[in-house]
Symmetry: C2
Subunit: 324 residues, 2 copies
């Protein structure tokens, strides 16, 4: 059953009379999840409502914590039987499994999202997979409610839009996202403060791990393939965790002429493989060969029961072949 969207006016008319609203978003919150959920919550509070983001996660990533000025909670009892439960940047209950029971206690349920959704699960939906960010859609909703957008709300939604458009560099960057951003900066919030907190907030351990991984980088296949590895020893040497290896694969993809970038992450008894493509290369196919998945430009795979060297050699060979 396909989703049929309601109009912004219909959704606004559900929210306007509500006195209590619980906001939900997807687990492993990124900038758009935090920005869209907190931005909506702030606007609802400024309309005089009692509103909270009931997080699926136990905590917010370090570089996003500054966005939560008292909007987020992990306390399910913060509100009982809210007038409205609304999920943003999430278009299925499986995106917030722990909280899905609580979600359905809302007297009315609403979904506003930009991910592809399979079937309706709320009373009201506005799902637009063509939109660059949930924060763009939340902006439209707030405007439809006639609620104010102040500097604080604008910072939150801007943080969401920059996250999902890669600072307006990804191909999803469209007129709607940029017009929304233009409307937000009119409030005069400090654009650079948001960027500094989100993107200039790298732990020394993570930076040292990146340095070590870049030192080990190997360029192959006539410059078209760049690979590196993150080992358990490197994590120990840098005082880092494997999550700190995030971003290294994009960094090495930025090498001139590179079409495929691969980072091998050594874990106990297995190796995680992150692949990225630039230009015409397709890394989904390579990952699929080893039971992994993803998209044409970004894919991943877990190799069990192999050594780092074996996994490296397999991927080096498969990637080189695909580039021939």
């Amino acid at each position: 059953m396909a989703i049929i969207n309601n109009s912004w006016e219909e959704i606004a008319s559900v929210l306007k009379p509500a006195e209590t609203v619980l906001v939900f978003t997807h687990q492993k919150m990124d900038g758009d999840a935090v920005g869209s959920s907190c931005g909506l919550t702030r606007a609802l509070r400024q309309m005089g409502k009692t509103a909270y983001v009931l997080m699926e996660d136990d905590e917010i990533a370090d570089n996003l914590q500054f966005l939560d000025e008292g909007y987020c909670t992990t306390d399910e009892h913060v509100l009982e039987n809210p007038d409205v439960s609304i999920c943003v940047d999430a278009s299925a209950l499986s995106r917030f499994p722990k909280r899905s029971g609580k979600f359905t206690t809302g007297k009315t349920t609403v979904c506003v999202d930009h991910h592809l959704a399979e079937e309706p699960f709320c009373d009201y939906h506005y799902v637009d997979p063509g939109s660059a960010a949930a924060s763009v859609l939340v902006h439209h909703l707030i405007r439809a409610m006639g609620a104010p957008i102040d500097e604080g709300t604008a910072s939150l939604l801007y943080a969401g839009i920059t996250t999902d458009t890669g600072n307006f560099q990804y191909s999803n960057t469209d007129e709607d996202a940029l017009l929304t951003a233009a409307d937000l900066v009119k409030t005069g919030f400090d654009v650079n403060r948001v960027s500094v907190q989100m993107y200039e907030n790298v732990s020394p351990q993570k930076m040292r791990l990146k340095a070590a991984a870049l030192e080990n980088m190997q360029i192959m296949a006539g410059g078209k393939l760049v690979m590196t590895a993150v080992t358990q020893q490197m994590l120990k040497d840098c005082g880092a965790q494997m999550i700190d290896a995030e971003g290294i694969v994009s960094e090495i993809r930025s090498i001139r002429g590179a079409e495929i970038a691969i980072v091998m992450k050594e874990d106990i008894g297995k190796v995680f493989v992150s692949l990225r493509a630039k230009g015409d290369a397709d890394v989904q196919k390579i990952a699929a060969k080893f039971g992994g998945g993803g998209h044409v430009k970004a894919a991943g795979c877990t190799m069990k029961g192999v050594s780092l060297k074996e996994a490296w050699d397999s991927f080096a060979e498969a990637a080189s072949e695909s580039l021939e």
Copy 2:
């Protein structure tokens, strides 16, 4: 004598009847210089005019070369006595000294720029230091001429705007820049292609130099000061040049808690020092102590007749003191 701006209509009415136009921009062209000059040239050609960018530089930086699809030349004789000479992203003849004589052979001279200008030097001016990028102003000029903006022109102007706003992260990011960008993406050009070519185009030598510099990074003053050095030996080891050290200082500034970032660049008989600040720190004052200059957030200095170690110690001490 202060500059009094003409209206866009006045400047458009100078350009519209012109048959030949020479476009000038500042030396050491960055993305906004290339984007605004080539974007204007492309639009003028589409209006049926003969137009070129007469470069001050001998060549265009590697990662910007894709923007020049036959617009730029170093041949002064490409056009004699052009109907109009127009400089963009440059508001004084000293910004393109080698070509300034040629500039003044234009029957009419025009300046369109977003830098602070001291005095009028053209027949017509539109100088707005409040504008984020020259490419934003060129967009207004093209619209005022009633000329079309196609995908090619849009890519060029977008490249300029992303350069000068740091991908819409700097504090100069304003409504006008974002509305202009929104108008540009409507043409349907490939936003990601522009970004990949500009920002994912790093030479392996430059990447290796960054890795080495990050490896040597030292965190001091309770985490508020981050310093590293680029030595002649490192350049040799990486096959890199000192220009490849650009960007390292911003990279280390992104460390969490860092307020001052300093990179010491060892040259023969001297040391170049790059300083960046985050938050409330002021690096201009530190640079000034050693005869350097710049802005509060970005400054530089050349230390002559000192060893790398002496220069390092002096700056480590001065920066630590300023953070107390």
